[in-house]
Subunit: 475 residues, 2 copies
């Protein structure tokens, strides 16, 4: 079947990839291609339309990243079972942009589900989730007799999930007992519990530059003094960390080694080793925030497995891979330390809801979770490839090219490159685009032009049209 | 039908009430009386067995409190639909008592679900819960499409529940808008959020003597200095509060006005009025912890309704009335202040799980929640009456006789009366009895002989046998 006639004069038309994408979107919208149907192979499509396989492959990748197609290794491409929601290309009539404030991540924009383009958000699109597995697990968990969930549950959380986690962690080389796993209200509560149990107001801790924005708020609220260690493409700046460790008595380093928020980059094994060596020498804790490991197709350093629980406190959760609204995370530490964390957990909110922990357990056990993770990893890889190509084309500088995880850290060209992302984000909001300007990720709000892009939300043509219009992108 | 022949010689036999209870327990166990069946009226039973109606009424009350019978106003008594679980009268063979430590509420005993007699716990027996409504609500909530719970949810929590709460609060005279309701991980997280948002380490706040044990930990962890105001039968000691307010610059008073934890007593309207007057005069916040209102059949003062949100921050939740493991609570404050609380909530744990909030919403809407609450109130009243009678008989001093709520505050006779409840609790644990000794409820761990009894768990004969054996009870 011929889907379109390509216009080959580049001066008069969108790129051949754009034309191919548009033609297939139209075919799916008009139900010429229905959910679940196979689409022609790359080779076949290229032959029929007189295009290069490179062009068709790029178009298919983009359609996968946008949720129109699903790639099935070995059996080509199919139309996604749920047609992608019609992309919102214009701002709704009554939509008014939320205010951009210093607490932006914490209230207005975060709460505004109506914002059309969520390039600045930190989660997978809901339609990418393992819906079948999740729904099955929720129903399974909801079948528990009320009498079994009558009390508060165990302070450490639902035992079978904790046991399951020890098995999963062992596969990553981290061997711990069940009494070393404490379930928390997401990884974020885990970080708060650690900060409040181990440190006192005025204590100095080190964070990454840039680093997880909400952690900076958590540490500030706990009254801690924060010093920054620059992050580069393959890890932490060792010289800077060494200097800080020598001159300041830091109690801990908070680090997100794999698919870091916001840069997307991971520590190399060598870098991880040197960081841990410094921690040993100078006697500070390493708090390892590992929330994105499930999105990582390759191996990446797991610091707690390398240096043990006497040195590294491990924090993770399921917001990135199952669903943020479950609010299930966990801490791994020595049994003695974990008991102190459990006391803090009880002090600040008592137990965590067992039903959600049962749901997560069911997802991991029954929900065909591993094949789902592989599909997500593949989908993210394709979105990364596509977005990097878009960025290269638009003259953006890309910090690292991780080809995995949610985030790409990049900065625009020209005058927008220096200290203007706050204004750029404000302009973008007026167009219904949520950007995550870099200054949120620095304790001193450094604005050096970087922006965090969620690859799953950043291929929308309106985003790049906006960037071109304001002169942040070439092309 | 004749159920038994009463032995009337008191020197040789248990009391007539005990004999009646035993006979009916046996009849139910042996299915002579089946679940759902009516039992003879008090008058009828008394006539058949030659007993006084007082004796039979006391026996029926005890059977209701123990879960064998259900009282239906206007239509007599029936056998409970689920036969009560066989009471555990001996300690299991492999059971070893948990350690009693200062953090007892927070770890060992709290976590030990195997402890046979939970007189010290702070929740309803699971078999008293509205199981049908709860299970129905969980299933209903679990039917939500995964795509709808894909993100983090709103920072303030599930909108329909917040809206529903404004309607319920309005019925109690507290009129607020939806943007004045913030959902939290139980009332406990609500208290932590308030403490961390409004106060700085070193600030002085007032609490009740005795008062909610976990709140003392929460305030201590937040670095606050705590001063105590004695609680008496009908409220706070006004002279003491006045003196503290004059001599110390207190920022807030934390108060649990209705069915207080641990005394079970409620503020009189007059006392509430004077407390609020002092708050106005001296300009301190009142933080109203109102978690037990749903267990209160009568009206009790609602401070936030009396003095408004400019003076009173209101905290409540559903652990006492729906199920603790839901972990759903809420704060009510002015819209401006609530926004600050929302920021703290996000900083320390991001959003709360929407599925649980949807479940609570379904319980309130669909679960026949009001008739259930009436049944629970009735059952608690009967347990109170029965337990007060047991205590009077055993020479215990009872602080207040609220006839509602979970708690009765009482102290043993003799040498156990002064400064010995710590040891008494330790002895009791060896017998598989969890007691809540009074010193947990004072900031300075005053041990003046008081014990908090959960009326739903304190009618077990082994508990009173233990008390008699160690000389804490007469009889």
């Amino acid at each position: 079947m011929i889907y379109f006639d390509a216009v080959r004069d580049r001066s008069k038309a969108p790129s051949l990839v754009d034309q191919t994408v548009a033609a297939l979107e139209k075919a799916i919208s008009q139900q010429m291609l229905r959910p679940g149907m196979s689409v022609p192979s790359v080779r076949q499509f290229a032959k029929t339309h007189g295009l290069s396989t490179f062009t068709v492959s790029a178009a298919y990748n983009r359609l996968v990243a946008q949720g129109w197609l699903i790639a099935r290794p070995g059996s080509g491409y199919r139309v996604a079972m749920r047609g992608k929601a019609e992309p919102v290309s214009t701002v709704p009539v009554n939509w008014s942009p939320p205010r951009v404030t210093a607490s932006w991540l914490l209230s207005d924009v975060f709460a505004d589900h109506s914002i059309p383009i969520k390039s600045g958000c930190g989660w997978l699109p809901p339609e990418w989730l393992n819906e079948t597995g999740l729904e099955q697990a929720m129903r399974q968990a909801a079948r528990v007799p009320a009498s079994q969930i009558g009390g508060y549950g165990h302070p450490y959380g639902y035992f079978p999930l904790r046991e399951h986690l020890t098995q999963e962690l062992a596969q990553h080389g981290l061997r711990v007992e069940v009494d070393q796993v404490l379930l928390t209200q997401g990884a974020t509560q885990g970080l708060d519990i650690i900060a409040r149990t181990l440190f006192r107001p005025g204590d100095v801790v080190a964070v990454e530059l840039p680093g997880y924005a909400n952690l900076l708020q958590t540490l500030r609220l706990a009254g801690l003094t924060v010093v920054g260690v620059p992050r580069n493409k393959d890890g932490l700046c060792i010289d800077a960390l060494q200097k800080i460790a020598r001159t300041q008595s830091i109690k801990a380093l908070f680090v997100n080694p794999v698919l870091q928020n916001p840069t997307g980059a991971s520590l190399s094994m060598g870098n991880a080793f040197r960081v841990l060596q410094l921690a040993e020498t100078h006697g500070f804790w390493v708090v390892e925030d590992d929330v994105s490991r499930d999105l990582m197709p390759d191996l990446g350093p797991l610091l707690a497995a390398l240096a043990g629980s006497e040195r590294v406190i491990y924090v993770s959760g399921f917001s990135k891979s199952i669903a943020p609204s479950m609010r299930v995370g966990y801490i791994v530490a020595t049994a003695a330390l974990l008991k102190e964390f459990a006391k803090t957990k009880m002090t600040i909110g008592l137990t965590t809801p067992e039903i959600m922990e049962r749901t997560v357990y069911q997802v991991l056990r029954l929900g065909r979770h591993r094949p789902y993770l592989q599909r997500i990893q593949e989908r993210l890889r394709q979105a990364h490839d596509e977005l990097v190509e878009v960025m290269d084309r638009h003259g953006f500088e890309v910090f690292a090219r991780p080809r995995a995880g949610l985030f790409l850290w990049a900065r625009p060209k020209g005058e927008w490159c220096a200290q203007r992302t706050a204004q750029l984000a404000e302009l973008a909001l007026k167009d219904g685009i949520w950007l995550a300007p870099g200054y949120y990720f620095y304790p001193d709000q450094t604005d050096d032009g970087w922006i965090r892009f969620n690859v799953a939300y950043s291929l929308h043509p309106s985003l790049w049209e906006f960037m071109r219009r304001v002169g942040a992108a070439s092309g």
